[in-house]
Amino acid sequence: METSRDDFSIAIRSAFLRKETQQRFSIFALVVLSLVLLLFEKFEVKPINYFRSFVKDVIYRGSIFVSYPSKGIGSTIGFVKNHINLYKNYDDLKKENISLKKNIFNSDYLKLENTQLRRLIDEQELSITNLISARVLLDKESPYLNSFVINLGSNKKIKNGMAVLDGSNFIGRIVDVNFFSSRVLLISDLNSKIPVITEPAGHHAILGGKGKNGAVLEYLPENHNIKNGDKVYTSGKEGIFSPGIPIGEIKIKDKNNISVSLFSDLNQVTFVNINLEKINSK
């Protein structure tokens, strides 16, 4: 019995503490270093933040460089696929164009009416001048997380919490700012919780990410009268985002599972707009 315990402790010591042939560090030392780094995640100390931002920027640039070959293969496959589907796409676009032309007059009128009503209630409008455009630098599809990196950082006055739009649709918010890059947490991520309002019912709720399954509405009033196809907008509660930014439309699976079909396809985003408005004005 004693011998087997000795064997076990020798094996453990050998695995964790001994520096093997040509190994500079022991596993134990590196485990401790990892724990220290994780501990630093909790502290917001300026020199550490600067160092972290610098390291992240360097790694992002390295990742772009390393990803060139696989990106090239991917874009070539996409190019060939697009060519194959060209005729079908043309037909679909023709039909879509006709239907959009029909709607355009209607939407112009609604826009005008919306602007007048917003003025009436003295609400801040989302103007083009408050938006800054950015390119998606890295979009590594993690199986567990939904986020991407954009090419603007604190050098362009980007701050944590700013709303990120695809065209005029809300798709996420800034969660990590470096010097020349920032990370966008998408609304489909499990860590994303956005205050929203539904239209026309006008119910306030929280839009929570569900990973690959998009997003669902949480904390709705018990006797809500939400229907399929109702629209979801940012509510502007908490003063983090401007109100009225379109997000998606409702798809009811059952009474307790109300999902939101997003207006933007999160896998197809190349350029985004960042709303500098709210946080800058504070």
């Binding site: 040509q22 190994q23 780094l37």
Partner: protein
């Protein structure tokens, strides 16, 4: 001249696992997506080489590749590094206690490596209030285990080539 070339090509072959380690970290392909499932080739790569030939991939490099993966995926810095070191530790322990080396032994000892690594990963993310899709993580663990023999065969061919 021939011996210089041979020496050079030997050095390149020796570096393949290390280059692969950094390539999958930097390109964000440490978890590869196949149609219905995902496989963590990072774990398999590290487990195999620490078990078979630890001098090929140093612990310091493993730590560094974990840090890179954390930055690329936007995870708390140190989480992946810690789980990769746990995989290395189990592999080092298995190497110390195993006498007979074959695929079945390696495959079975890979189970505790996966369990410990993903448990530590889960605990770290939970303590840092970081939510991830745990069902995906669980599925990923199962398919990583199933996929192990495929990479085992590929790496064994490479190892034989290095030794010859």
């Amino acid at each position: 001249m021939i011996s210089v070339f041979k020496n050079f090509s030997f050095r390149i072959i020796e570096l393949i696992p290390l280059l692969l380690l950094f390539y999958i970290s930097l390109s964000g392909n440490s978890v590869i997506h196949l149609n219905f499932f995902t496989v963590n080739i990072h774990y398999i790569l590290i487990y195999y080489w620490v078990l078979k030939q630890p001098r090929t991939i140093g612990y310091g490099f493993i730590f560094l590749s974990g840090i890179i993966t954390d930055v690329i995926f936007g995870l708390p810095i140190g989480a992946t590094a810690l789980s990769l070191l746990i995989v290395s530790a189990v592999a080092a322990y298995a190497r110390a206690v195993t006498v007979r080396i074959n695929l079945i032994n390696d495959w079975l000892t890979f189970i505790p490596a996966l369990l410990f690594a993903n448990f530590v990963y889960f605990i770290v993310l939970h303590l840092l209030d970081f939510s991830i899709d745990y069902i995906s993580l669980f599925k990923n663990s199962i398919f990583t285990f199933i996929f192990y023999p495929v990479l085992w065969v590929i790496f064994s061919i490479l190892l034989r080539f290095m030794k010859s």
